[in-house]
Structures are given as structure tokens and as C-alpha cells.
Point group: C2
Chain length 231, copies 2
DNA sequence: CGATACTTTGACATGGGTCAATCAACGTGG
DNA sequence: CCACGTTGATTGACCCATGTCAAAGTATCG
């Protein structure tokens, strides 16, 4: 019972935790569940590093520079695991884009629990590396790409992550606002909006309401995105 | 003998590998050593993910967008471990800033070897998380900070990493060129140079030759760097 | 159906890029 | 050890992409 409540199938799958061992129960004891309403911050205590598993919903990890300047460091969708730690230089918070369910572990305790299971540690390494590789890609975009390339790349990558594409076309329900997109791409909402308009004019994007988006030509987006393998 | 050649003390320490077990010898068998001259790329085959240990020297991990635009994704100094994987979107290369010695593992093989040693896996997790956290900080800088803040933050962070600071003052020998600094901060060499000049005028920086740098007031740099905890 | 928040569009300002010229560091050969 | 050449750094003038400020438009929700 408790096992079903805390350690959902998705998490067991994510960390490669064989349900038949008693391990899930050990993890249950150290897990904290948070149900976060859309727009609310997860009440994380990151004086110590934590591992967060996004069981349902979608979240943004936001870093803040001085002067209220926010930079979204990553989006994390259902099924993702992320590591969050405090930082002397910037403050971080994890905010729900839609109603979300998070399973939070003190990282130290989690690793203690998982020590006997190399498979779990390896799954975790893989997840953190995925986060690292995405972050590197973001650094390239933020450091060296134009607004148009960033927006096209954003849509392209999101279409891949949300796996809703079929032979070059794709419909998405963006869980994030224009502000979020801007905060993720290091742009203002106005610039994001203008780039959306240009993509519409180029026939690479149609919108329907605020959040629904139709991408008729994913390949075209990739070409605009300034990926080194496309020119 | 071979053990001393391949698995140096630094690496054993880095991955928390107890020298008394026979483990080091197993790692030796799968390790590849590369001595890279200043300015040369490591001949990494990243069709599969690799782990690289920087045994001596200093390196830059460079990502490339289309059109020859380089973004340095991270600097890695002696003692660092990094994970590098290919990417459909951007190409990456690891280049030596000074003559360097790298110990390279196929990541899969490394993890296979380390499976029985949770301590090694944990050490690896810690290192990768460090890389992730640095990369997040870089994303905040690239996305939301001014040229002056980026340059000040760069010097501040480097002074911490190279541990050459004494009560607010610090002398550094920068292993990287102005171009490298620009490629790391998402700026041009000219902008980096102008910011250096402004910092000199503000009494926060003195230079001596191309690479030697004196930072008389680290706290002042931190204040300029736009870190959220300093205003 | 009206209120409110979000988005789009426009006019203008500006930080940092680009291009070009000068200057300084460093290595090399005499 | 010095003159010279090469490469990298600095400075200046100008320009453009994106930020800023303001207004109008439009989803969405009670």
C-alpha cells in the first residue's frame, strides 16, 4: 500500500530498482512526497544536496542572479530525476509548471540506501549525465546562438522530448509561458514573441491559443537551430 | 610499475579507489593514456561515452555550433574527471591549454569495473554533479549577466579554483588566452579586453604580461559578479 | 460578459559585436 | 643580447540585434 503511494512504478523504473527486493521499502522510509500546485515552488531544503524525482507534472529549475534576473537552468518533465544543491553564488528553486508530484530524497541517504545496488547507482549516473549534457547544450545556445536559433532549437528539442512528432510534423502543448521560454533561452518575452511571429511567417510554426503549437516542419526548425551537424 | 605509470595517485584519490585492492590493475587494462601538447585536441572517440581524467595540465571542453562558433563548455584542471559523450546537435572536442596528460576510459567499461565498489561510483557521481552544478552556474551567467559581471565572475571563480588567494588578494597565471576566456563567457576577445581595462581602472585587476594577473580585491570582484548573495 | 493576465506589436535605446588600426609580448635567428 | 617578425592584446569608430518602454490586442476564467 504505502509502497504504491510512494514508490510508483515510474520511479522504480527510472532508478532501475527491482521491485522484488525489499529496496523500495527502504527508499520509502527516506522519501518525501510533495504535491505542488502549478506555479508553486517545491519547499526544498538544499543546505544538503537532494535528489528529486518528478513523478507527475512538469517543473522548471530556476537560478537567480542578483537583481531579480531569473535563468531557467532546465525543464524537468515527468520521469526525470534531478540533483539540486545549494550554491554560494546563485540561488535556485524548483517550480511547478503544472500540478506536479515530486519525490524528494536527501542525496546522502539515497546513496546510502543504494550502495548495495550498483544498478541503481549506474542508472543515477546516467540520469545526471543526461542533465549535464543538456546543460552543456544550453551553454552553447546561450553563449553563441542568435535569438532565432535559440527559439528554433528550443522547439526542436522540446518536440523530441515530448515525443509527439510524426514524420516531420508535430503538435505540442507547451507547459510553459512565453516568460518561461525567455527565461530559459536568456531572452525577453518580447524577443521570444517576435521570433514566434517570424517562424509563423516562415511557415515553421502555427499557434492555437497560448499553449498549443503546431510544428509542420521539424527538419526546417533543426536547420534554423544552428546545430553544427546541419551545415 | 605499470600501476605507477597508468593509475597515478591523483586518480586513485579522485575516484576513491583503494590501492590495496587489485582494482587499480583492472582499471589499468582498460585505461588509455594520452599525452597532449598545448593546443592539441585529445583524440577521443565519442561514438560511445568516455570518462576522462585530467592527470596533468589544463584542458578546455569546446562545443561548436554551426559556422565555426565555439563555446567553451568547461575548463578542466589537473585532478578533474569529466564525462564526454557525442551529441546529435553539436560537436565537442577536448583541447589541451597546456601540455597535459589524460587518462581515458570507455565509460561502459569503467562502470563495469567499478560495479563492485560503491565508493568509486559515489565518487564519480560527486564529480559529475560538480560538473553539472558548474554548468548550471555558467548557464545563469551566459543567459542573464552583463559582460562585466561575466568577466568579474570568471576571475572570481578561477581564483577560488586555483586556490592561490590569500586574504582577499591573489596572483594567477591564466592558462587560457583572451580568446578562450571569450569563448567561455560567450563574448568576443575585444569585449573581454575592454572589461579587463575597466577592471584595471577600478583597481580590481593588474596584469603582468599576457597571462599573469593580480587580483587585489577578490571581494570586490564578487560584488561585481552579480551573484545573488551579494545584493 | 467583464476582469485580468498574458501576448503581440511598435518605437526607440543600448550593450556588445564587427572591422580596422595600433600596440605589446614573446620567440627566433643573427 | 638585441633586432625583428609573428602572434595576441588593446583601443577606437561604427552598427546591429536585442533589450526597454509603452500601447494595443486576445486568451482564459470567474
Amino acid at each position: 500500500m504505502a509502497s504504491n503511494v510512494v514508490m510508483d512504478e515510474l520511479l522504480c523504473d527510472a532508478i532501475n530498482c527491482p521491485p522484488e527486493t525489499g529496496l523500495c521499502q527502504k527508499f520509502e522510509q527516506i522519501a518525501q512526497i510533495h504535491n505542488i500546485a502549478r506555479g508553486q515552488d517545491a519547499p526544498l531544503d538544499i543546505t544538503r544536496p537532494v535528489l528529486v524525482f518528478v513523478s507527475q507534472g512538469a517543473t522548471k529549475l530556476v537560478g537567480r542572479a542578483s537583481g531579480q534576473r531569473d535563468q531557467i537552468v532546465a525543464f524537468h518533465l515527468a520521469g526525470d530525476i534531478l540533483s539540486v544543491a545549494g550554491d554560494a553564488l546563485h540561488s535556485y528553486r524548483l517550480t511547478a509548471l503544472s500540478d506536479s508530484r515530486l519525490i524528494v530524497f536527501d542525496e546522502e541517504e539515497f546513496l546510502e540506501c543504494a550502495a548495495a545496488e550498483p544498478a541503481i547507482l549506474r542508472a543515477l549516473i546516467e540520469r545526471i549525465e543526461t542533465a549535464l549534457h543538456r546543460s552543456r547544450g544550453k551553454a552553447i545556445s546561450l553563449g553563441r546562438k542568435s535569438a532565432q536559433e535559440r527559439v528554433a532549437g528550443f522547439l526542436y528539442i522540446l518536440s523530441k522530448r515530448m515525443k509527439s512528432s510524426t514524420n516531420g510534423k508535430c503538435v505540442l502543448d507547451l507547459p510553459m509561458s512565453r516568460r518561461d521560454i525567455g527565461d530559459s533561452l536568456g531572452l525577453t518575452i518580447e524577443t521570444v514573441s517576435r521570433q514566434f511571429s517570424e517562424l509563423k511567417a516562415a511557415g515553421l510554426l502555427e499557434t492555437c491559443g497560448r499553449s498549443r503549437v503546431l510544428l509542420p516542419d521539424i527538419g526546417g526548425l533543426a536547420r534554423l537551430a544552428g546545430h553544427s551537424n546541419f551545415s
